[in-house]
Symmetry: C2
Subunit: 344 residues, 2 copies
């Protein structure tokens, strides 16, 4: 079994462990946040962690009503701009805690008045030493180059932060996520058959909307890293503003299609794509009525939309790992990559 598949399979345990260990801390953060009255949230990350930040951007704005900005690190690290960050919560996300630019932004943000929180796997990392507070992802050491268990662990930490900032996220509901991930893992066998169809796929588009927009970015990144597929990612609305012109029979479109308020617009896009004779593949779950699609990958569970992003990325991770194998590639040895990437 590849390291990547082993880490994919470890996710229910890793999530449950992180939740157990950070529950008390989440309560403390809640008491602190209530006094602070943050007016703005800035999220800063790179790579897979930046996809976690993209999820956080939706989750935090939706559940707290506090406007969220995804940081452009170069503004701090290359242009050295000074921003007014009073009453701002700045959250840095990095698996290793050694992402040079993310750490520079956190240091600069702190000087400019922000309260800084780190989400990292490594309690003894540089990041953990420079922030005001740390949420630790207890995923165990990441040995696969392609991040899986650390990504879902970062999402979990963002639920804990959202729960501290407002009443919409309840820890008892968050505690159900590991069980949903268990269900998603049962798709391993059917996906092993399904990926055969995509052995010669060289390019793809991944589309989503809202809370799962980040899932589109993360699935596309796994396809790029492990299968060397040129995988574009769009919100369903942006896809209609130009990129839809690319659609051809040989450009498959993967859609994240959970229950919830984004579903009608995604269903309508899926129907339109089928009329255009495009190949469409849906990530969805039990009980969700489906538009016509070439293939549907259904997680055997009924999951409220707000908690779908963790279980929904799991079949995407499995798909990428198995497709790499079907292509004769080693998902544990992507070309040109290391576990820790340092950029400024």
């Amino acid at each position: 079994m590849s390291l990547m598949m082993r880490e994919i399979s470890e996710q229910p345990d890793a999530l449950a462990r992180t939740l157990r260990a950070e529950r008390g801390h989440a309560r403390e953060f809640e008491r602190f946040a209530r006094r602070q009255k943050f007016k703005m949230i800035v999220l800063v990350a790179r790579g897979t962690s930046d996809n976690a930040a993209l999820f956080g951007r939706y989750l935090l704005e939706l559940t707290t009503g506090i406007p969220v900005s995804l940081c452009a690190p170069s503004i701090y690290t290359l242009y050295h701009a000074r921003l007014d960050l009073k009453q701002t919560l700045m959250v840095g996300i990095s698996q290793s805690g050694e992402s040079t630019d993310v750490n520079l932004v956190l240091q600069s943000g702190r000087r400019q008045g922000a309260y800084t929180v780190g989400i990292t796997n490594e309690t003894r990392s540089t990041m953990a030493g420079i922030v005001d507070d740390v949420f630790t992802v207890r995923a165990g050491r990441q040995r696969s180059v392609a991040a899986t268990k650390t990504y879902t662990g970062q999402l979990l930490a963002l639920y804990l932060i959202a729960g501290g900032l407002g009443p919409a996220i309840r820890l008892d509901d968050v505690a159900r996520i590991p069980g949903w991930v268990e269900r998603a893992l049962t798709l391993r066998r059917p996906l092993e058959e399904l990926v055969e169809r995509y052995r010669y796929m060289r390019q793809a588009v991944v589309v989503a909307r809202g809370l799962n927009y980040a899932s589109a970015f993360e699935f596309a990144l796994k396809l790029m890293e492990t299968c060397y597929i040129v995988a574009e990612r769009f919100s369903s609305a942006d896809f209609l503003h130009g990129p839809i012109a690319m659609v051809e029979r040989d450009l498959p479109i993967f859609l994240f299609h959970p229950p919830g308020p984004c579903r009608p617009t995604l269903s309508s896009l899926a129907r339109r794509l089928r009329r255009m004779r495009a190949e469409t593949v849906l990530f969805t779950s039990r009980g969700v009525p489906l538009p016509p699609a070439t293939r549907a990958i259904r997680i055997p569970a009924d999951i409220p939309e707000i908690y779908t992003p963790i279980p929904y990325i799991v079949p995407g991770q499995i798909f990428a790992e198995q497709l790499a194998a079907a292509k004769g590639l080693n998902p544990d040895k992507p070309r040109f990559l290391q576990v820790i990437t340092r950029t400024i």
Copy 2:
């Protein structure tokens, strides 16, 4: 000549006209903004206009020190969240002023306390009727489906807004932009030869950093719309966090390589890509020392970095138009697209 090329060529006039007509208005906005003391800026747009917003995200944060957030429209239009937008400047950007979701966000933002500004080509549009203030892009009617002169006009309006919010942008400098665009237009002949090499290109990556990050998105969108090329876009830092694994001899990498603080990191990426035997194409200008590259497209002018994003997109627009022609496609009739796209 295609409508698209005609509109590309109209840009110096359109920009000069917009600047002349909006100069007085920009001064009024400056007086108003000084009293308001905005604490945050939210930008909202779709498609090409969203690429203009991405430029605005960097320009406004860099030159004003006010944190900027790129709006996720679904949070307003599908999830109906309520955000606290007091002391917030919300800027909506839409060529037609009829983008349903952008208008819904502006209405909702205004109710939640934001001061709303529209940037549009159409003074009698829905958008112009619902915002507190309008910057009008005097580009003349856009008849090409692929937006060119309206995009650069939107960037110009963002310079005017930045000039109103802080001292870094001076209108006398902005007034030099139409001249730089004239210089960029002289590249039409050399580009006509260059595109021959890319006749069979089916996928590409576009990389940039900082102020020209938006240029990467906009050039990639033109390649998707008019040439049906699957064109990915990345910041040079994010590209190293995974996607670099896709690089192959047949996946060309286009880099925006202006002068300024982002240049060293882009040069270093270009050198690394050449060592990997990737094809690299640089958009750059006179006087910029170049790393090894397969091809360089040099604008014959010395342009301070902060004013590069308008002249730098021009060779990208020309490249897309001419490559479409070389591929036997009609750049004025992209499949499946209209000038106005309505999404929610």
